[in-house]
Symmetry: C2
Subunit: 214 residues, 2 copies
DNA sequence: GTGCTTGGATAGTGGCACTCCCCAAAGAAA
DNA sequence: TTTCTTTGGGGAGTGCCACTATCCAAGCAC
């Protein structure tokens, strides 16, 4: 199929597809001659994935490129590729290491991992963007006078661990059917907005149950 | 305290504080004379809240203003104010109602609420931005060939309901100590990034347990 | 009075995600 | 063959956003 048809079937304008091609998010089509390129179903699928990451996952274009680069890197084993892709997802900016609230939160979050017995996460903590995000969020709450320390977060962490188990169970069940790490990234990137939405809905439901609709 | 000190103590530049004042995020200080305004601890606290929402919660400035407007609206009861504030939080754009994937997902998500017995959420579904987000995310997955229907989401939803119960338990425990709805919004806005970070950490941990670090 | 600081206003900056426009080469029509 | 339309590539432009830099006049400190 040509650019126009790719645009038609994906609902993405030709100008935007060209932009993605230029930015290296989408591989170039098979060049038929100087003015025509041929795209296939794989291009359409990848384009839909890119759109989902950008529109639903709110991931910046540069980050999408980075994530896809890791996903496509055949030189690494699948699990490593997936890990690299997830670590590339956008996180909060680097915190100020001298800030007292940041230091206190960092200590509290290390304690949290110890309490949970997440030994692998502990050994990765200093590198993990997710750990950094956790520290930054906890520091912001601390700065406002709230102590979201280890003990308050333990029940949240246990619930999120159950969520992670569901994620991985699903991935295992589908690895055989599609060997592409793309499938895994998809699960990681698109499940998050669903979790967020379910969280809000659950809050609405529980709030209505407790206090009525008024 | 004057602008310079407010800047000093919050770590936010005077130029940025002036911008927030201009945008109506921060109430003006008490005007002492034509060139001096006096700010108090409440201004400092509000400024820290704004920064946390923008930097940690990644909420756009216009949305922060909207959320704070609801929070400060004394004409409504507290629960309604909180609900309005949460509904103002950024969500995905309106989906194309004619899209077959969107229609299928909407039906599946309505079925999900039925299965869960979330009757209040059901009655609010057509209005709730969270429900819309859920539909959009499910539609994106559907478009890529994955069926995240009601039965696959039920376990996720039950876990997020437990999270919501924790949230509300915490809020109830703190309502007496601070009557401001600000406290509640804070919980909603800043807990989300923590959940996200915990989710990632849990994935890293569980993935390392199952497959090793390689 | 002189010089520095302050707060308010206006305009400018840089990044991002497109989006517009032009062009030369194909392919289709006459 | 000639004319007309379409196509893909590329560069420049757009609109939005979150600041940020500059200017200005009024105060205050010495």
């Amino acid at each position: 199929m040509r650019l126009a048809e790719l645009s038609e079937r994906s609902g993405v304008s030709t100008a935007t597809i060209k932009y993605y091609l230029r930015e290296g998010l989408l591989a170039p089509g098979r060049q038929v001659n100087t003015t025509t390129s041929e795209y296939d179903e794989e291009h359409l699928r990848r384009l839909r994935l890119i759109r989902a990451m950008i529109q639903v996952g709110r991931i910046p274009v540069a980050t999408v490129r980075e994530v896809l680069t890791h996903v496509d890197d055949d030189s690494l084993p699948r699990t490593v590729r997936l890990g690299a892709a997830v670590w590339a997802l956008p996180q909060v900016p680097e915190p100020d290491a001298d800030d007292e609230f940041v230091q206190g939160s960092r200590a509290a979050m290390e304690e949290l991992l110890g309490t949970l017995g997440w030994t692998h996460a502990q050994s990765l903590a200093s590198l993990s963007p997710a750990f950094r995000s956790l520290v930054v969020a906890a520091a912001a709450l601390r700065r406002l006078g709230y102590d979201w320390g280890a003990e308050r977060l333990v029940p949240y962490a246990r619930l999120m661990h159950q969520v992670a188990e569901l994620d991985l169970d699903f991935m295992e069940a589908h690895v055989s059917e599609a060997e592409k790490a793309e499938v895994a990234v998809l699960g990681v990137v698109l499940v998050e907005p669903m979790l967020r939405a379910l969280h809000h809905l659950a809050q609405e439901e529980e709030s209505a149950r407790r206090y009525g609709l008024e």
